[in-house]
């Protein structure tokens, strides 16, 4: 990487930044899921590993969350954008050198940010846990160069039209800068009380709503038509999806605070908009699944489609849960329980991660012009991820319902802890399967770059991936 950071732009091969981001993202995924597995073990076996203050759950939880959101997910988004955006504009990435620097500074930022959390330096606000210097670093040193590179690649495209995927990439990375700067206002100006609570959840909601969900969708808009060879079912439904995300997903932050004394009108408005999140969700799922017409066999035969469509199918329960769990009646029951933890993992480890894994698989093969090293290992990784995620999601959903009942019926806390103990063990098992699968994935990707069979000119990876 150092070699390319110091090289001239013309000497850096196309796709270098995307490749660096891909491997960085996988590394952060391994670190993030490793920490997740460790944390889950502490919840399943509370007497385990209690002697180190720095490794207590209170420290480690934020490190896990930030490692997966900004190391894995956003890193994989950057990797995807850096090869998909130029491909869709029939051009090159605006600056490979900026991309390589961006990747290096991204990793430095993550290492410093996570270390600071580990040492107990935290804002204390869920999802915006970093202290303000790290927030500013993320906004200006990590995300702004990424946005500039992607935006300028779109500006300098050699096509007249802009494909749906690129609307989402450009808008989401721009919004991420805004979300970071506005959402962390309580940190910059020491807001307290309801203002602090509202801004904190505005940040948390929009990191998901204006970055993770739309960019994961953007990836699937690329992978499905590209790999199946089918045209996207509908350009105009893409419009409906994009603009309804902007209008309905940016407004419901208050639905995270339904039990707070925020103005009732704001909570009602947020709750209505929260249900209306189903508008973009329905439009999106419908558009992608209808694009698969006539090519459904690829769902079992093709690894990229297998990942992508699994992610899209997981978007259905994700949005059904998300739309309704925030309404007053259901929120009363599930708020503050493991149900919400399960839902968050459905979004990040389910829908989003499956889409990004597809993009990284496809990107590494396309950029290096090499065939996947081992399809068996890729399938093994898929099933470890799917089984691990499913165990996690189902066990935490059940644990959440038990906690909800305990909360409403005022069951003694220790009784609830005992009742949910088996589900905490299943959660740990599920997370650990994902962690193990990720090591296999890293090995497979490394071997693809090092020893994958070279593709001849004019052949796409998906054309030969299953030829043995």
């Amino acid at each position: 990487m150092i070699k390319y950071m110091l090289a001239k732009e013309k000497d850096i091969p196309g796709g270098t930044a995307a490749l660096f981001f891909s491997f960085s993202a996988i590394m952060w995924f391994i670190i993030g899921t490793g920490l997740g597995s460790f944390n889950a073990a502490k919840l399943a076996f509370p007497d385990w590993f209690t002697h180190s203050y720095a490794l207590q759950f209170g420290h480690m939880r934020q490190v896990h969350v930030m490692a997966v959101i900004f190391g894995w997910i956003t890193g994989a988004f950057a990797a995807s954008a850096m090869y998909v955006v130029p491909a869709l504009g029939n051009t090159k990435l605006w600056s490979e050198k900026l991309g390589v620097w961006n990747c290096m500074m991204w990793n430095v930022g993550m290492a410093v940010g996570l270390s600071s959390l580990w040492f107990g330096m935290t804002s204390g606000r869920e999802y915006s846990d970093f202290i303000w210097p790290i927030d500013l670093y993320i906004a200006f040193v990590m995300v702004t160069p990424l946005f500039v590179n992607i935006f300028m690649s779109i500006v300098t495209r050699r096509t007249q039209g802009i494909y749906t995927t690129n609307w989402f990439f450009a808008a989401s990375f721009f919004m991420l800068i805004i979300v970071f700067l506005i959402g962390n206002i309580p940190e910059f100006f020491h807001l307290t009380g309801l203002n602090e609570a509202y801004m904190t959840w505005w940040f948390a909601h929009n990191v998901l709503g204006l970055l993770i969900t739309p960019v994961a969708a953007a990836i699937t808009y690329y992978i499905v038509p590209k790999v199946t060879g089918n045209p996207l079912y509908s350009h105009r439904v893409g419009h409906l999806h994009f603009w309804s995300i902007v209008v309905f997903y940016s407004t419901p932050a208050a639905h995270h605070l339904m039990s707070s004394p925020l103005p009732e009108w704001l909570k009602s408005f947020a709750s209505v908009e929260g249900v209306l999140i189903l508008v973009p969700a329905v439009a999106y799922v419908c558009n992608i699944l209808l694009t698969m017409q006539g090519r459904w066999s690829m769902f079992v035969e093709n690894i990229e489609i297998k990942y992508t469509i699994t992610g899209v199918l997981l978007a259905i329960p994700l949005n059904m849960q998300g739309g309704f769990q925030q309404t007053r009646a259901i929120n009363w029951y599930v708020h503050g329980t493991g149900w919400i933890v399960a839902h968050a993992h459905l979004a990040l480890l389910g829908f989003s991660t499956f889409a990004e894994a597809a993009a990284v698989y496809y990107g590494i093969q396309t950029l290096t012009r090499r065939k996947l090293y081992s399809l068996s290992l890729a399938n093994f990784h898929f099933w470890m991820l799917l089984i691990g995620f499913s165990l996690y999601w189902v066990s935490m959903t059940i644990a959440g319902l038990i906690q909800g009942a305990g909360k409403i019926y005022e069951v003694p806390y220790m009784d609830v802890v005992i009742a949910e103990h088996p589900y905490m063990i299943v959660r740990w098992l599920g997370g650990t399967l994902v962690f193990i699968g990720n090591w296999v994935w890293l090995y497979n990707m490394y071997m693809t770059v090092k020893a994958g069979e070279k593709l001849s000119v004019g052949v796409q990876p998906q054309d030969v991936a299953y030829a043995r």
């Binding site: 029939n90 350009h235 004394p261 009732e264 009602s268 408005f269 249900v275 189903l278 329905v282 439009a283």
Partner: protein
């Protein structure tokens, strides 16, 4: 206007259900659509399937119905003022202090008397009181806070919600006026619902203009030209 808002460039309203672009714009869009390859990806011009349109309409109706005040909106402090006034009256205090009754019996008897007395007088809070019944213990918890607020000038108890053991201002809208009151006040049945309807309708107008700028749905692009 088209110079500043490309959305209105070539806009025509002759046949808005088909397309809102003039013929030249439609031809230009069709030419780009068919002659340009976006990284090897093509797009079709299909409409949303009709059952899905129905599903979206149902989604909006569900959103409005599910979040209506009947389903969980918190009670305002104002609906309990009369309860607390009666609670402090001599006949109710006599019941509460009657040593021949257990505390539970006294509470139940006092609450029955209060509700009987309230039923004698029409109130604009009748419906909300049915939605949010209280016990004597609830009244004891909120009593001090409500009385304290009542003694402050310019306080509108309809702006205050009962949240657990707290009475908090959580029902307001609009800015302060010089006399200490609010510029606006929403009725109890409209806490953000009109805002939601206006927001949704604005979205519908904008999205219809956006997608109806495209060529009509009857036109099927020929992908063999660019691919």
């Amino acid at each position: 206007m088209a110079n500043y808002f490309p959305l209105f460039d070539g806009l025509k309203l002759k046949n808005p259900l088909q397309t809102m672009s003039d013929d030249a714009k439609v031809k230009e869009a069709q030419h780009i659509w068919e002659h340009e390859s976006l990284g090897g990806i093509a797009e079709n011009n299909n409409p949303l399937p009709r059952p899905v349109v129905g599903l979206l309409v149902l989604t909006f109706l569900t959103a409005m119905a599910w979040t209506f005040p009947l389903f969980g909106q918190r009670p305002t402090a104002a609906i309990y003022v009369d309860y607390i006034t009666l609670m402090h009256s001599a006949p109710i205090q006599a019941i509460l202090n009657d040593t021949s009754l257990t505390s539970m019996q006294a509470d139940e008897k006092a609450m029955t008397s209060i509700e009987k007395a309230l039923a004698q007088f029409p109130s604009k809070y009748e419906f909300q009181r049915i939605q949010h019944p209280v016990t004597m213990d609830d009244l004891r918890i909120m009593e001090d806070a409500v009385v304290e607020l009542q003694n402050q000038p310019g306080i509108d108890l309809e702006e205050y919600s009962i949240i657990g053991s707290h009475v908090s201002m959580a029902n307001f809208v609009g800015n302060w006026k010089a006399d200490g009151t609010r510029t606006r006040k929403q009725p109890w049945w409209d806490k953000g619902y009109m805002t939601s309807v206006v927001w949704f309708l604005s979205f519908c107008v904008i999205i219809v203009i956006t997608v109806k700028r495209l060529p009509p749905i009857t036109w099927k692009p020929d992908h063999s030209i660019a691919h």
